[in-house]
Every structure is written in C-alpha cells, then in structure tokens.
Amino acid sequence: MAELTYIEAINSALREELARDRGVYVIGEDVALGGPFGATKGLAAEFGERRVVNTPISEGAIMGLATGAAAMGLRPVIEVMFVDFITLAMDQLVNHAAKLHYMSGGQLGIPLTVRVQQGAAGNGGAQHSQSLEAWFIHVPGLKVVMPSNPADAKGLLTAAIRDDSPVICIEHRALYWTRGEVPDGEHTIPIGRAALRRPGKDVTLVATSRMVEVALEVAGTLANEGIEVEVIDPRSLLPLDLDTITASLRKTGRLVIAHEAVEGAGFGAELLAQVQEAAFDYLDAPIARVGAPFAPVPASPVLEQAFVPGAERLAGAVRKVVLGA
C-alpha cells in the first residue's frame, strides 16, 4: 500500500495501462503537458506524444475521433477538461459512442474511456462547477463511475479502460489533492459494485463522489447523538448495485440520498424510484434527497458555499428521516 493523492492515483492507473496495453492512448487538450491538474503528468515523456496526444480545443471532434479509433480497436482514454465542456461533445458521446455497438447489432465495439472532472470548488462559477452525472445515466450504452477516494480513482479508471463499452469516469476536482491508501501494482474495481463505507443500523445514507466524505463526517457526528448511520458509496451509477442498497434498507428501513448535483431530475430521483419499486416493503419512513438547489452554480465564495450541500444540511435531513418531523 502506498499513500497517494487522488490525482496521483489517476496518473498511476493511466501509466500502468499505457505500459500494459499498446492499444491505450491518452488524448485531450494539454494532456502531453500533464493537463491542468497534473493527471497526465510525465506520461508524454514516458510513452511519447504518439500515445499521449495533445489535441486542438475541439471537444466534439476529440470525442468523435476517439470513438472512431475505438471502433478500429484502440482503447482511447480522453480527457475532457471540465464536465461543463462536454456539452460540446454530446452528439458524438450520446449519438455515436453510446449507440454504435447497439445500432450495429453488436458488430462494432467502442472501448472508450472518457475522463472528466466536475464539482463546485474554487469559485469557478456556472460554467466550471456543474455536476452533470444524471445526463449520462439517462443514455443507454454508457457506463458511469464516480470515484470518491484515491484507491477507487485508480481501480475504477483501470476497470474503465479495460471495459469494452464506453465508460465515463467522473472525478471530483476538490478530491484531487486528498490522500489515501492505494494498493500497489495492478488494482481494479469491478464496475457496478457499491462499497460499504461505514456500517450502521438506523439509516442508510447513499452518497456519491465528494459527498461520501461529507456523509462520513455526518455519520460521526450523529453517532454521538445515538444515530447509527450506514454509509454506502455506489461508486458506479450505471450499472448500479441496487442489491447492496436494498440489503442495507432491509436492516435500516430508512434512506437518505446525497449528491452534489442539483436535486431536480438527479441521480437521487432515479435511485429513489428504483428503491421504492424494489424495496418499498422495507421502508419505514419517506426517502430524503439532499443535493444542490435548482440554480446554476454561483461564483462568489459565500454563494458557492451556500450552494454545495454541506454536513449541516445533510445531518438535518438524516435526523428528520430517523426521528420524524
């Protein structure tokens, strides 16, 4: 085990997969320079700019180029600098990468990995801070993973690169410099398996990405109040490990869902629907969602902080579900 930052873990996954498989290419804006946050640092020096390819600022064509190259058998890993910019590549992602395998009746394989980071941190404002994972889970053909710690960042990215379907690996910018133990050498995490982050018997708290950290803080606080919170990190939103969540509900009977994206039509809404279909009999209380309010992300530090769901709001929601109004 080595202690790495989240961004070092990503770098390590890319390095190992570039070394392991000659079909892996890292493609994107400034990736040969290391990228704006250092995810691809040193890779061009080690593997050459033939395999770590700087592109023009052309998100649509990058996505299409990688999709076409994937159809030819390469395993491109593209970096879209901010999830907000993926809007420029949605046609290629949604209409092509996601659907070519299906539309061709299984003839074409698209082993494409899309790395992208998101989240409200650093006062980037409305075009650099969104959380858009719900868009992608609405598109059949895409897999969507959201690592919440360095070990998962490595394990999920490695699994994504090896997957034969297009996978979107959504990183959280505010987690980039957090540290954690990462298994040495090859490390993969099967896509579609949730992680139990803290056991508890009173309420299940499903949290994604950076909200896992907040959920664990809240669980610690509430333990002092006699509320035992079970924290589950789905890690993969699609495919979703619903079994782990319903198994937890069987024990707790209560569910709170936390994500940083706006609540409206978010992952929480989808999970809520799936849970009431699969596990209504286990529920002893209404399900609560905690996400951002329905507004663009503001820039000012004060406004940004008010926007991002924090520990206090989440604790309040959990108390309400456990103790009633």
Binding site: Y25, R50, T55, P56, S58, G60, A61, M63, G64, L65, A66, T67, G68, A69, A70, A71, M72, G73, L74, D91, Q92, N95, H96, L100, H101, Y102, M103, S104, G105, G106, Q107, L108, G109, I110, P111, P140, G141, K143, D163, D164, S165
Partner: protein
C-alpha cells in the same frame, strides 16, 4: 472515358450502378405497396460517385457514411438480401434490425458507422484514420457526407485535426444539392453556406481539394485515386466535392418515383425520356455512363439490357427474402446495449 477500365471493369462498374439504382427503386415501390419502411434516404443520382470511388478501395480500408448509405454498402459488396432485411427491420438484417435504413452498417466490409447526424460520421472517419496511422496499417479512411455537413462545426474541427496530423483520410463530400427541405432558388451550392465554392472552405487548412462531376465515373476515379495514393504515402487528407444534380423524387423524407422507373434504353433512345424529366436524365450519371459504354462499343444494347434484367431479378428475389424473413424476437431489443 474508360481509358483505365478494361471491358470487364467497365461492366462491373455498370453492374454496381444498376444494382444501386434498382435497389432504391425497389425500396420505393415496396414502401408504396404498403410495407412500412419509415423515412429513408435514397442514393439515386449519386451512383457514379460511390460506385467509382469504392471500387478503388482495398479490403483493409474503412468507410464512415451517413443516412444516405445504401449505395455505399452495396458498392462495397453488401448482400442486398441482408440489407433489405435490415431496412425492413428483420432479424436477418445485417444489424438484426437494430440499425434500420439510417444506421445499416457492415463492420466486416470496413464500415465504421452510418450516422444520421449531419456531420456525425466525419470525426469518426478521422478517428479511423488516426487509428490506421497509429497501427501502421496501409489503411485509408473515407468519409462520405453531404454538402450540408459544411454547415456543421465538427466538420472543421475534424478537418483541422486530419490536416495537422496528416491522417490518411479522404473527405468525400457528395454535393447532391439537396438540403432536407430542398434548395432555395438560385443558391449554389445547394447548401446554405457563405461561400461560392465548397472547396474554398478547406483550402486554408492546407488540405488539397478538388471538385468533380459526380456523375462522371472517370473524373471521380481520377481524383479518388490521387487522394488514396496521397493518404497511403503519408501525404495526409484530401477533400473531394462530387457534384450531382438533385433527383426530383428525393422528397425530404419519403422518396417517390416521380421520374418513373429508370429505363436504361433512355441512353440510346433519348426520345423515350418523358419531357418533364429530360433535364434530370440529361445529367443522370447512370444514363450518361450507359451511353458512353454504348458509344465506345464496350457493350451493346442487348448486353446492357441483359445485365439490367439480371440485377432486377436478383433484387426481386432479395426483396422477397426480406419481406418473408421473420421479425426479431421482441426481447432482443435489450441485447447489445453494452458490449
């Protein structure tokens, strides 16, 4: 006109062109007979371009094309039975009925995709060129698309990358002067673009470009040969504009045989062409090509009519096969969502 083609090759080219024309006519008649196909796009009037260009490709070459794909697939050797079956949504179709007319594709023949998004296939073609170059294969990627693509941003992004990295790509712009809702009077080209010549648009990117008569197989052959040689020799991409005249039956979504079934004898008995359609048939690459073969004594009327009859008989059988073929099991709708 067929200086590079021997008689056998010239007749093979005619066979491909007839195959495409009769395939499309058969499809329109099937739709008219009450068998629903949905909306579809036909390649009538553009046969020369696809047939002449695709005949030059090597087995390892790749093609990305559009919703107007039937001609490209047939020219590359697709089985009309399985293509008709795909278009009719049958399990025996190339894509098990998942693609339909708009997305019919045959990976085994080098097709990457058939995209129904205007411009959608262009970056895919560039991606295949990128992969070919990385893999060191003598493979060229050809992207076929209509003139409307030059109104889309992703075209320019893709052209830029192909030029920067000298990728083995041929941008084959088939200017059929047909926007989805037709052409505004007096516009040239048919697209809504602020340039007088489409090829002027690519010049600043350093991509060699030429415009040819898309109804002249020799012209298409010449420029395609040069483009393929340039791509295979590391010279990078080429842009070709193949100009064809819009077929009057190509209504926006539901084509109609408004010009009637093509009579190959129009080539040697022009008086038989209905007055209302003389202008179109005067430009029709197929009829022009038949006349050239006839004039050059590479084929006589009897041989041409016999070839046409064979093609039609084969296609009638292919359509019967597709009509009688079973639909897919409804449960298969959920197959192949993920690899």
């Amino acid at each position: 006109m067929t200086s590079e083609l021997n008689q056998q090759e010239a007749m093979e080219l005619l066979r491909t062109m007839l195959l495409i024309r009769r395939f499309e006519e058969g499809l329109i008649q099937t739709q008219k007979s009450g068998i629903s196909i949905g909306h579809f796009h036909v390649y009538i009037g553009q046969e020369c371009t696809g047939a002449a260009a695709i005949a030059l490709l090597e087995p390892q070459d790749k093609i990305a094309t559009t919703h107007r794909n039937h001609g490209h697939l047939l020219a590359r050797g697709a089985d009309p039975r399985r293509l008709y079956a795909e278009i009719l949504g049958k399990a025996a179709g190339y894509n098990k009925g998942k693609g339909g007319t708009l997305h019919a594709t045959v990976a085994g023949l080098g097709f990457l995709s058939t995209s129904a998004l205007v411009g959608g296939a262009v970056p895919l073609a560039v991606g295949a060129g990128f992969a070919a170059k990385q893999l060191g294969e003598r493979c060229v990627s050809v992207g076929f698309f209509g003139d409307g693509v030059l109104e889309e941003g992703v075209f320019f992004e893709s052209l830029n990358m192909a030029s920067l990295w000298k990728l083995p790509v041929v941008f084959m712009c088939e200017n059929n002067s047909a926007g989805a809702l037709g052409q505004s009077a007096g516009e040239y080209p048919g697209s809504t673009i602020a340039t007088k010549q489409l090829i002027d648009v690519v010049a600043p990117f350093g991509v060699p470009a030429s415009a040819v008569d898309g109804g002249d197989p020799r012209a298409v052959r010449d420029v395609t040969q040069q483009a393929l040689a340039r791509a295979r020799n590391g010279g990078g991409p080429t842009f070709i504009e193949a100009r064809t005249v819009r077929w009057p039956g190509s209504r926006p979504l539901w084509p109609e045989l408004s010009t009637g079934e093509t009579d190959v004898a129009f080539a040697w008995e022009p008086d038989r062409i209905p007055m209302a359609h003389r202008d179109w048939f005067a430009n029709d690459g197929l009829i022009r090509y038949v006349r050239q073969l006839f004039d050059a004594k590479l084929a006589n009327t009897k041989e041409i009519l016999a070839l046409d009859a064979t093609v039609r008989a084969d296609l009638a059988k292919a359509m019967r096969f597709a009509i009688e073929a079973p639909y897919p099991d409804p449960a298969s709708a959920l197959d192949d969502v993920f690899a």
